[in-house]
């Protein structure tokens, strides 16, 4: 990872800070914070799905794990927000490893991997809805206790910066992965497992590392969500909506690229808000558009050849 490669990420961060300084509209800030949360969750999906080719339909499991663990620790056990969020992220990573250990060891991939991850997320959703510690169907409120020490901010622009820093971190991790041995092995596994194994790639180990890292990032998004809205319930934290959007954003914005999830999240949220403004609030309308967009992107792949794009980029950038 060279300084030049991290420049776009730095640019993004500076842009976010500028926006936080000059934009005062709560509607716009709200939109941006939510987009950032989504982009972080999507970056998590991207690590496993975009780079590793393992399409999860159940990343809500990790989002919800991050959200619930950090919220429960704060609310039920009085843990400070910072360690609580860290534990939430760790719990998501452990869950990712555990699911991966079962699922990848059993050799599930492709459609079966998609379905089984969906099933895991649903099991967690039903459990969260039925147990006491999660607040059951009523959900869980994190008590308002403003202050940077509690990771709660009165103004949305502080959250914008927090979200942007976290996303920048996620992008740096992704970039580092892309330039690492693990990243090369992960792409090799995505393209051809047998050929990768023949070159000494331990497929199971690579997939397990990828799913743990992926789950940690998506878990961080969940914890941030809980911190921002101070309320979660089972349908928010473990709902299919986040599984679907975490998958759609990278696929629409460019799977297997560092900026794809952010671009996709901006497109998705932009479309969603745009249709609300233009047509009014019809439930489900934005998702219909997402669905059409997904089919179109698959039908007419513009950027689903990240290697080619990246190669062209490098070609241009080379002195």
């Amino acid at each position: 990872m060279t300084a030049r490669e991290t420049l776009p990420i730095l640019g993004f961060l500076i842009g976010a800070v500028l926006v936080s300084l000059f934009v005062t509209s709560n509607v716009v800030l709200n939109f941006l914070v939510f987009t950032l949360i989504l982009a972080i969750a999507a970056q998590g999906w991207n690590l496993l799905g975009g780079y590793g080719g393992q399409y999860s339909f159940g990343h809500a499991a990790f989002f919800g794990m991050g959200a619930y663990v950090s919220a429960i620790l704060q609310q039920r056990f009085g843990v400070n927000a910072y360690p609580a969020v860290a534990f939430g992220i760790a719990a998501a990573a452990v869950l990712g490893y555990a699911i991966g250990a079962m699922v990848f060891r059993a050799g599930l991939r492709g459609s079966y991997f998609a379905l089984v991850t969906l099933a895991f997320a649903e099991v967690l959703r039903i459990l969260a809805n039925a147990t006491e510690i999660t607040g059951g169907a009523a959900g869980l409120l994190i008590s308002l206790n403003l202050g940077a020490g509690n990771l709660q901010f009165a103004d949305r622009s502080s959250f914008l910066i927090l979200g942007a820093v976290l996303l920048a971190l996620a992008m740096l991790i992704t970039l580092a992965l892309e330039k690492s041995r693990l990243g090369a092995q992960l792409v090799a596994v995505r393209e051809n497992e047998s050929a990768a194994a023949a070159l000494g790639v331990d497929i199971l180990a690579v997939k397990l590392r990828a799913i743990s890292l992926s789950a940690a990032l998506t878990g961080a998004a969940g914890a941030l969500y809980a911190q921002y809205f101070l309320y979660i319930d089972s349908n928010i934290a473990f709902g299919t909506w986040i599984s679907v959007e975490a998958l759609l954003a990278p696929i629409i914005g460019g799977a297997g690229t560092v900026f794809g999830p952010l671009i996709g999240a901006l497109i998705l949220q932009g479309l969603s808000e745009g249709t609300k403004l233009l047509i009014g609030k019809i439930p489900g309308l934005d998702l219909i558009i997402f669905g059409v967009l997904l089919i179109l992107v698959v039908r007419f792949p513009l950027h689903r050849i990240p290697g080619l794009l990246a190669a062209r980029w490098r070609g241009k950038g080379a002195p």
Binding site: G53, Y55, F57, M102, V103, A106, G107, L108, R109, G110, S111, Y112, F113, A114, L115, V116, L118, A119, F120, E122, V123, I126, L127, N129, A130, S194, T240, V244, L247, I251, I282, P283, G284, L285, L287, I288, F290, G291, V292, L293, L294, I295, V298, R299
Partner: protein, 291 residues
Amino acid sequence: MGYPPEILLEAVANGLLMGAVYGLVALGLTLVYGVLHIINFAHGALLTLAMYAAYVAHGAFGLDPYAAMVPLAGLFFVLGYLVQRLVIGPASRGDDSNMLLVTLGLSIIIENAMLAIFRSDTMTLRLPYAMSMVEMGDVLLSLPRLIGFGVTLLVALLLFVLMTRTDTGRAIRAVAKERTGAALVGIDVAHIYAVTFGIGTACLAIAACLLLPSFYVSPRVGNAFVLVAFTIVVLGGMGSVTGALLGGLFIGVVESLSGLYFGDSLGQIGIFLIFILVLLLRPTGLFGARA
């Protein structure tokens, strides 16, 4: 924990009846898998669409769901045919993950179109016979479910005749077995794919008409069925028609019994856990290892 035997027996019997309709839903899914080798993720959403269609047929035309069965099956055959021919086929270009994404896209579109039109309220038809019971020996059986059981068997029989006695059926089996070979002897594979998808969708229309008298409709109702159907298909063996029917009966009983013991909301977990376990424990060669 102890329930009197009549209650258990009744739960098992009603589970079997419900399971038959599950089997019908799974039948469409397994048929599509067996021939096209795709996991149709939109299966649940198409079922939702069919249930709304039956609901509207009753509301707008006063058509009883059982009377709507044949016309809706025809309509959904055409719909399925066109969806495969015009959307799934061209968009996925034979790639596994593309098919997964395209059918996911379809399910998102259908589900949310229903949400936009009918909103998220659950709706039920109030039919005079919805709560009717039939007494058989010691157990009371729900009449709509009993009818569902009978119709499912009839549909399975018809499918069997179609597959074994007609040219189309033979062509479908040929394509399922050896696509390239079938294409070489002049079978239009894209057409057969679409016909198969149409049949699978028509099965859903029939299942919807059988479910509606005793079941509610909501934009997400198909979700409840889609994983059930996948569980059944995996349990019964991907592509196996008898496996789908037997798997359906088994899952129906499991659901009924776990609902009895754990309550409805936790009872659903049983199905997901079975699904996960079945996927994890079956030998890998059967599943992921498709090169």
